[in-house]
Symmetry: D2
Subunit: 335 residues, 4 copies
């Protein structure tokens, strides 16, 4: 917010010709250790859909997890922006698809020939929709299959900072060094007001991208206000600090839940999301105390209810402790 | 073909203003027992994709079987023609989705709200991709769920004639009386040179459809040549006779295969397709004798190989017998 | 900016369920004197293209001025968002198309039938691209022709506040009372950081608009920051005050230029834009003094050069005077 | 028609893997004197729109004549197939745009930058919409400008045979030797039942074109029936013979009209179309005798009425003479 206010002083060239946007290219290139082309936008849906539209033709197939944001949460934005391409969701219980799955899906498409959409891109969510994180060698193996068939690789990095903190690797290692060609980089979930970006690790892939962004109504006349947010986000490791806090709060939640009778963590807690199964009576009791949950539809097994807990850069430790106390208080003597 | 040649004499008004196209409206209305608006096109993909584009917005969801032609075999045509809508494939081992599945999928979409594509249409294949046929009351139950949520219902009738012959019901009973709003009617697989049609049972739904067809390049200047095929197709029950023959040949194949050791019919043979599992060695022996198969990817179970056998209006009984003899000859003494 | 900072305190529901967005509905309804459905977005291109996509089918024609922003400055956004509709630019020297022109264009389309895109909407820029303003009766006459042929009417109100100040009429009179159905309301050019909106005067026309906005990546998770800007914009007549200042500065420029030898105002200065022809030598002299101009391509007549001067809410009177002094100083003794 | 019937004997591989389609590649390559990739489709609108979709991005501009078929007669097909590109019609009284016009339009686009659609292709109609024909050096000059800016060049050859006969040059000279990259080749207007084709003179430009055709519903399962028409069309110069006759009939019409009082030929009669202005009374008299005309909207000058007369491969000389007799009979003693 301070950065936005600072950008508000004086007047400035419009449509991204301002100094903030210029500095952002340099800052992002330094962060990723390679010259990148970075294009700010203001929603994650726009970042993903514009990135994919740049990568695949209308008759293309995008391989991804079947719970990927691009499949389930963007109201058909990838199909709309690409003019018809299909997202091909692959199942994976832990949110991480495998190189073998992708190879199999591509082989099937090749058997089908012209009747089938053409394999055109691979898209990986990092961290995944299930709060897990791909290791760099997992990404490399997936990217290798894609490359073998001529497919570029996209990363939906709405939670990339959370993944980086978990992995302890550099942004470069987690992205282009592992075979990522185009990155949707999220900042809004991690502290920004409205700042996302599409990052191309090879500028040649960004050809005419500014027209595509303009045609979709995502070129701001006062672009400096988005760029300023991203500059502040990268400065002094703020993005990683924010993510580190969010991850720590998720870990604390997970740790606290481990001792609760009837509670069962459904996924490895790698980033800032906790998926946990709890007895129905316990969830109901918590709801009566004023907590609200998104009851996850996929994990009704084990007689309980699955809920998702998401932490953020602004989650106070006290809230975590308060929630855990409430859980233990409602869970009965054994816990 | 005789009908096409007849249409070639003299000159005629272009773009569908000819007498053949006029007669077709009357003929189709008589066939279906209700005034219909029928629009000839020349491929099944065009019929399906244009029909769906007329029914759903770019942010719409089309519920259907996960092996539906619109999902797997049209290279993304529905997504392209609708400008972004998604086909939502539901699994069903026998090719027939259920009212309960559709209700569940719609409920999930409603929970997700604006992030999810909007439930916008139901599409049923009749006969299905697995050679089975929906009974009218199954269609009615599905259509009732759709109607309850405001969704129009489409039928992919690429093999409608085969289904009608199997059901022994009228075209009206199989379509609008069961709740179908828009029909893709196939003739090419059943004898025509290049004739399909989109049939609207309520003319109000066809508003501006002629522009949509024109914009997609599917308005023929010499439309009479397509209309003439459909007129001949309907005349004297030719379409049903052709389908009756095709179905009978499929039944004969199924009957013959029932006695073969190791052969296992995978689906009820309701129309003109036979899905059968055979021992790998037997399939290989048949291939050596010159038979060619589409080895179906989904049924590797039981140690054998699944193949699809499709019969048509022009399949001679002798070919069926010859194939069955070859199977028995290669299958060994027990059969 | 203060409003944005205020919206930053505490946390809030996301995706437009916040209190700011709720208040905005009420505020806009009060401003326009009728219950409206208002949807904030963050660029004018998005507002126009989403509005048109809601109004016209892919095979539709949008009638407008041939220099309209939707024709010349949005990189094909209307065509992209509508899935293929055409903008049909009509010429008018003063930027204002006439009811007669629109009637003629529609009649031609009707003669052409299915081969021609279907007349589907009328779009008027207010103020126009040439800095002129439609009188309410001019808008009414245009809207009457549209309505007679079933076309809804869109207003590109990127500079609506400037037009209102000039006309001295109410927002209602300038819009829905004159026959406007859907309004793109601009605030960014008139002081906001990034706030535009699509306003529907009949909520029925807004059906599913929130999905269309989401699918295009224009639904902000932190929507309150846009809504807060619009609330501040409307509060205490700030939008009109800003526009009044901008218009006054443009009038002062025009007045000052009237006395300059060789200067010729090319358009009536109704809003915040001045189009003036000046001798080439004078423009060159000004450029040498550090002024920069957009040399307008359409008015090379009269031996001079046409330039565009745009004033804003933040243009100081001193800048206007300084510019006029420079002009007079360079224009020679006669002026 | 004979060719279609011949193709009907026996069965054949589907979706273009038949022998007719194979032979067509060789036949077309021989006709054009270079290896080409030729894709049959069944309407001219499909040929043009698919060709352009292959050539330009959604944010692209296609430069062409403002009366080009792609602008006025295809119901927005180019916009739909490309996902948003714009046709940029340039005026030219004789139907032939000039290299200078195209250079100017591209320069304007470059000035406008990201706000303007990107110059992406040039499309020329040969023969033109006004019945005139570009000389090869005119095409070369236009193509040179396009190439200088990186734009591929498309030719709408719905009447290419008529142009070839007029020019007396080879198909190669009229197309790729003059700089054409992609050709829409028409046969339907010149004798075929439903046969058009997209011809790529550089196979690399045809990459994935078969998917694009499939996704648009233009891949016939029984493709041999289209290919057979084109083979017959090319065989023994039939296409040129048909066009020669049509052109000769147009010349005879023009010659006969030259002596008629008040008649004024509006365009050079290069191909098979005659645009002539006649006194209103004369046209009315002819209409009373049963002749029907398309009264052309653009040439109301000179107090008369403009009509278009189109001849074809099947226009008998007797019809031409009969029409001219009627004209002379109604035109009064002076003619």
């Amino acid at each position: 917010m301070a950065a936005i206010n600072a950008a508000n002083s004086g007047s400035a060239p419009s449509y991204g010709a301002d100094e903030f946007t210029g500095k952002l290219q340099a800052a992002a290139s330094e962060i990723f250790g390679i010259p990148v082309a970075i294009f700010p936008v203001t929603t994650g849906t726009a970042a993903n859909a514009l990135a994919l539209a740049q990568m695949v033709p209308p008759y293309g197939a995008v391989y991804c997890h079947d719970a990927a944001h691009i499949v389930t949460d963007e109201c058909g934005a990838p199909e709309f922006f690409t003019g018809g391409a299909k997202t091909m969701g692959l199942p994976a219980a832990d949110g991480k698809i495998t190189a073998r799955q992708v190879a199999g899906a591509i082989a099937h498409a090749e058997d089908m020939g012209v009747h089938h959409v053409k394999p055109a891109a691979l898209s990986l969510s990092q961290a995944t929709e299930w709060g897990t994180v791909y290791a760099p060698d997992e990404v490399s193996a997936l990217a290798a299959v894609a490359r073998q068939h001529g497919l570029p690789v996209h990363m939906d990095g709405a939670r990339l900072a959370n993944a980086l903190v978990h992995l302890g690797c550099t942004p470069a290692e987690a992205t282009w060094k592992s075979g990522i060609d185009v990155l949707s980089l999220g900042a809004t979930k991690n502290g920004a007001l409205c700042a996302e970006a599409v990052v191309f690790f090879d500028a040649a892939r960004a050809r005419d991208f500014e027209r595509r962004r303009k045609q979709a109504g995502h070129l701001w006349s006062k672009m400096r206000f988005v760029s300023a947010q991203l500059l502040a986000y990268f400065a002094n490791g703020l993005w990683l600090d924010n993510a580190r806090h969010a991850n720590a709060m998720a870990s604390a939640l997970a740790e606290g839940l481990r001792g609760v009778a009837g509670a069962s963590l459904l996924q490895s807690v790698d980033a800032n999301e906790v998926f946990v199964a709890l007895p129905e009576a316990l969830v109901a009791a918590l709801e009566r105390q004023g907590f609200g949950f998104y009851r996850w539809p996929l994990a009704a097994a084990s007689g309980g209810v699955a809920i998702r807990l998401v932490t953020s850069y602004s989650t106070p430790r006290a809230h975590v402790d308060e929630f855990l106390r409430a859980v233990r208080g409602s869970a009965g003597p054994n816990s």
